[in-house]
Subunit: 533 residues, 2 copies
């Protein structure tokens, strides 16, 4: 039996565009002699459609689109994810998260997702009714058990029961978002499940960026012994075609940790820009490491000719910063312009008089830069990429409407220590110092007052980031962090700052999620809140 | 039997403060001879605690706090809402949304909420395990059936079954957020339920603001015939004490529509400011109706001496606007200062040269004002209140980091036509023209270029707002709106604008929800989205 996994880059709400990609992949798979081709979860509408699913007209159009796709199928079976409308009172009008099995011009049977994730970034109980039946079907003489995403993660879930009921191969269609190390977690789970049930599993995943989420692809076929016999690309579309019984070529090696994160940033940025109809981006270049990494990611995502770095030196900018930013522009081959901010700095000093001191003066400089970038964005239709990292967002070491102004936060889920690692990784990748060593080596500074250093306001990042990782990404309590050996004073300082700055993060632009717990839909904390810890 | 409903203003995360309020109300109710006193849903931790519930240390501390409260009870029964920890694998570690029945120093029995809302602003399936048991208890010789919020809304829910099992009175503890007309919906439902089961219902609600939500109180006792025999204040705390068998005084009359909305804005603003530790607020005063209404609400919420209006005239401000803003300041008795923005306007023109035209120039003026307000906020620790209304937010007729800059959006869920009604209502309430008629009468303008009017960019508000109400608040499709008789061209124009501006709203500050469907947790649409309609 020949099986095809259509790992496509689909777009939320683009029913026609998605249908065209699905039809093309179907035709390719059929031409390659596939008995079955599987498409991602909710392929017809993209994932996650969120409250679009509360619009009856939207769900109805998805069903029509699915019917049209079914109508053009031949003997190759297509398993296509879509929201299946159900007007019965049992579902409260909610659709099912369904996999339609299509062949010979019609929908043969529909499988309905049974395990609905309602944690982390997922809200599927808000949208879907739960399925209960376990339809099997035949493809190429083999009995197939279809399932959707979460279903496969439980050790007594639908695929386990399908195997018990006679399924010889499990097909599992997914929209599984990326975070660091996720591919390895998935493959480990799939290997265990395959061994548990003694059946091969064909796992197809979505690929592409959608607001905060990046779907990383990495579709796999796992045999009954738990061995990965074929693996599709990570972070790129692919039609993976495998013979179930044949001897497969050695699968590609998965990306390492830094490569994975970097590719996620590139794909997330590219898709946010393109799917939202932008042609190019602008980035404020300070001469520091954060904006340098963002510029490198943007150049890789869009091509350097679509990236403009804007240098906005002030009276407090060091000569080195300007020089380093200029070297970066040259090395990356991006466009640039320079807008010194002193005229506006002086104007606000005049306007605000005695009120213009301390943090007010510092933040105003960041806001002059934000306003400058936004004016250029408004004039030329370019998207502003913001450059704040996760350590800064966590601690509130960032200016609302200043450096937080922009449409997409490329590295907002990347801790500062990893920003350094990724910059070095990018240089090593190309065997060139595109990001100048001076940028990597100098002590970080916001340069909003003479001689300012990040360490004036923050613990050193090597000490800070592990505490943030424990508190934010692993949800550890103060007591638990102390038990892990972190300095109690440092823990309290960090927890206080993270908790106090929820209001800032609420007004941040979206950005690529690369961690198991990002600021965004993953982490829903009240602003008004007297609990800390 | 004497029953007390403790309609308290509690604060999320403030376990000690909430416990003190609960203990005080308990003592007062006991002193007044109550047999039972009921507190709101999750009274111990405030509502909604959101992802605080995922912190084990938080839930454990809530349970300890509840135990302490139980320990100080005497013969008066206390029904207290709190998250009840459950470490068993059946709940996946999730707590129950529980009502503890406390008497004589201990927790006698615990009722666990069975119907968990997971729609609109609610995510209770994310946090709670579902209860199943139906414990009854005795108070003052009467058998009581406890229940929590959503449980009472179903016509075969736990209170219906409790009545069948012998409950003579239903106690229902709530954290039910306000929207226009919600009190009347609740009372209608309660009247129907009481008649259905032939039992009185004691309904206690939370009061106070929490980020986007305002809990409006309005606790009621409904007798077995469905008549409201006692009603607590709306938008203010109250300990309502009623004799179940006695002849009650005529209950207070509920507020009318405009009064309700205005009081919600006042309470939401006051609690956001105070619970987040601010003393005073600043507001940009343009001389227009939106900032005038916001200033009036703020003066009512905090006292005029805690409100500063900042006039920031530009080269395009009319003389009338400045005069009207000054009259408003005098009438409300608030503080004011004037910061002309022309120096910064000229500076940005110099800095940006040929790029400084059209929408770039217009938005820059709004951002200069935002930056000015934020500098004053940073210098003096005042919270900036934003003045955008729902019609503007819907259509994107607002500037990111400009007039959207600030901590709280007082009228972000109020359509422009209602802004006018509320301004007039406020004047009539005091029998004085605190909001000058000139402000109410002049055609709305952003004054970002000579002679600009809102109607240059938007349909007239009287035509626009009904379409927005249909599309946003009633989730009507294009087809449905056309069937309701709206102009098809207008419908398409509005839908396009609303859909295209999701990215702006994502970076808006929170604000008071007064409608059945506000921009915020209520409405979760993707930014990257090619579906419109």
């Amino acid at each position: 039996m020949r099986i095809a996994l259509a790992q496509l880059n689909l777009t939320v709400g683009d029913l026609e565009g998605n249908a065209a990609l699905i039809a093309q992949a179907y035709d390719d798979a059929a031409a390659l002699g596939a008995d079955l081709v599987a498409f991602p979860e909710l392929a017809v509408c993209g994932y996650p459609p969120e409250d679009l699913l509360l619009k009856r007209a939207f769900v109805a159009r998805c069903a029509e689109t699915l019917e049209k796709l079914a109508a053009r199928t031949g003997s190759t079976v297509a398993v296509i994810g879509y929201p299946e409308p159900d007007a019965s009172s049992a579902t409260g009008g909610r659709p099912y998260n369904a996999a339609a099995v299509c062949r010979d011009g019609r929908v043969e049977v529909v499988y309905r997702k049974q395990l609905l994730p309602n944690y982390a970034v997922f809200d599927e109980e808000r949208y879907f009714a739960k399925g209960s039946s376990l339809p099997l079907f035949d493809a190429g003489g083999v009995t197939i058990g279809p399932s959707v995403c979460e279903d496969i993660w439980s050790d007594d879930g639908p695929p386990v029961r399908a195997a018990g009921a006679g399924a010889e191969v499990i097909v599992n269609i997914n929209a599984s978002p990326y975070y660091r190390g996720r591919q390895s977690e998935r493959e480990q789970m799939l290997a265990g499940r395959a061994r548990q049930i003694g059946r091969p599993i064909a796992y197809v995943n979505l690929v592409g960026g959608q607001d905060e989420l990046v779907f990383d692809g990495g579709s796999v076929l796992v045999d009954a012994t738990g061995t990965v016999v074929a693996r599709a690309a990570q972070f790129a579309p692919e039609l993976l075609v495998v013979d179930l019984a044949g001897s497969a070529p050695t699968p590609t090696v998965p990306l390492d940790d830094d490569a994975e994160v970097y590719e996620a940033l590139v794909l997330g940025t590219r898709d946010y820009v393109r799917k939202n109809g932008f042609e190019d981006v602008i980035i404020g270049l300070s001469g520091g490491i954060d904006s340098a990494l963002v510029a490198a990611v943007a150049a890789d995502a869009l091509g350097p000719e679509r990236v403009t770095g804007v240098l906005m030196p002030s009276r407090y900018s060091s000569e080195g910063s300007v020089r380093d930013a200029e070297a970066l522009v040259t090395n990356l081959g991006i466009r640039s312009m320079t807008v010194p901010i002193d005229p506006a700095h002086r104007a606000f000093a005049d306007m605000l008089g005695e009120h213009f001191t301390g943090i007010a003066e510092e933040n105003t400089q960041a806001r002059i830069r934000g306003t400058t970038l936004m004016a250029l964005s408004n004039r030329h239709g370019s998207l502003v990429l913001t450059t704040g990292n996760k350590s800064e967002y966590a601690m509130g070491y960032t200016t609302l409407y200043g450096d937080m102004a922009g449409g997409y936060g490329v590295i907002k889920d990347v801790f500062k220590t990893r920003v350094y690692r990724l910059a070095t990784w990018r240089n090593v990748r190309d065997g060139a110092l595109a990001i100048p060593l001076a940028i990597i080596d100098k002590p970080p500074s916001a340069e909003l007052r003479p001689g300012q250093l990040d360490t004036d306001s923050l613990p050193p990042y090597e000490e800070l980031d592990p505490v943030l990782e424990a508190y934010v990404e692993r949800r550890r309590s103060i007591t638990e962090m102390e038990a892990e050996g972190f300095d109690p004073a440092l823990v309290r300082r960090v927890v206080r700052a993270v908790d106090a700055n929820e209001y800032k993060r609420r007004q941040a632009p979206p950005g690529v999620r690369v961690s198991p717990l990002a600021f965004g839909k993953d982490r829903r904390l009240p602003i008004t809140n007297r609990w800390s810890g």
